[in-house]
Subunit: 127 residues, 4 copies
């Protein structure tokens, strides 16, 4: 399904969360699709089941998946999901910080915009 970067400084559970969000929002995983069980994904990724469970709990709390005890975990319909204002604000701050980092490096505005445009191009499917 995807791979983890064990050398990354990002938490494993966060990596799972991001990869799953990517698959869900991009449409690779569609609403009501069953996703691998906690134990299954844990054995595929070679991590502890609790770590996967933690990621799933977080994804569920954010509305990306839903879970039915004894049956498994499924992809939610993110299309019909209203954007949570608290989360949007958090994401905006994250964008602000990342652009500040470019500024602190002393590169000029034009080059910063080029970098951002490049990122948008990488996401050709967006919108």
């Amino acid at each position: 399904m995807f791979e983890l970067d064990m050398k990354s400084r990002k938490a494993i559970s966060d990596q799972i969360i991001e990869n799953m969000k990517e698959l869900i929002v991009s449409g690779v995983l569609k609403p009501d699709d069953k996703i691998p069980s906690v134990r299954e994904m844990a054995s595929q990724l070679l991590v502890n089941p609790n770590t996967v469970a933690k990621a799933y709990r977080s994804l569920e709390a954010q509305g990306y998946i839903f879970t039915v005890k004894g049956r498994g975990t499924f992809v939610a319909d993110t299309q019909s999901m209203p954007v949570d204002s608290r989360e949007l604000k958090e994401a905006e701050n994250y964008v602000r910080d990342s652009i500040s980092k470019l500024y602190y490096l002393g590169i000029d505005k034009e080059r910063a915009k080029e970098i951002i445009d490049k990122v948008f191009e990488e996401r050709g499917d967006w919108k």
Copy 2:
């Protein structure tokens, strides 16, 4: 000089680093300006001197400041500093991640670009 947000989830030392970078890159602090000693800044900000020392060590490692034994710590000439490619790549990844977060929220590309434009406007002085 600047204030800390003790309620922020950002580490205090990181806040000090970012604020100092802001002052240096924006030109408020100029090359060879003396900056407060570790103890002095610690008492002004009401934080542990170890925290300030850590921030200074990091700023020095990144070339924003330099220390002269027995005389103090001074602002380096960031203009003449070549952009470190490793740091640039790290910042690019940060930008990529932050834009991904917007994508994961399910907002459309137009709105994402508006948010980014807004951030650039807030930095009216850039370039």
Copy 3:
């Protein structure tokens, strides 16, 4: 601060969550108040620190508290928090279910309303 009902069928972490919400929303704990550390509350309640940490994580995700690494966990300003529509809907369903339970017992509408009025009276401080 509060006590747990170890005989309850409610999860311990959920009990911690509810008790903390009660203290925060009722105003006993005010914005920026420091709440007991994970380890401290765990030893007071005689439960595993991970259980308390789980409750704190959930409370933070819902915006009731915020945490600063190395310094502790604090009460957020819930007044300024917009009501999350997903959570409100969930709570409405919960209300609907609980009233259905009264209906299934075969009691009449009047008596059901009396029970509800009694609950509101118990929360004399509300509004």
Copy 4:
């Protein structure tokens, strides 16, 4: 007879119990009416017979249905059923919890009452 919400987080057996209670208390199913056998209902709902059997056991324990060996399962006379005080207390606690959830969201008393009134209106047939 009724449908299950396989996406719901409620246990299937609980959904069967609630739907049966609804049909019985509302009068759609009348005392001594025969209800489908475990196997029959299981095949209609496309669920495991064990799940239906569990639901029937629970309904029988609570006095909503009764079984005659070799003949089938029938609706009990709920009118003549005294309200079980233990169950009533349990339902009251459930109501109390659900209203607490509204309180924790920070909505005011008026709005909470509106939500409850709406739920009562949805049950126009009650009483």
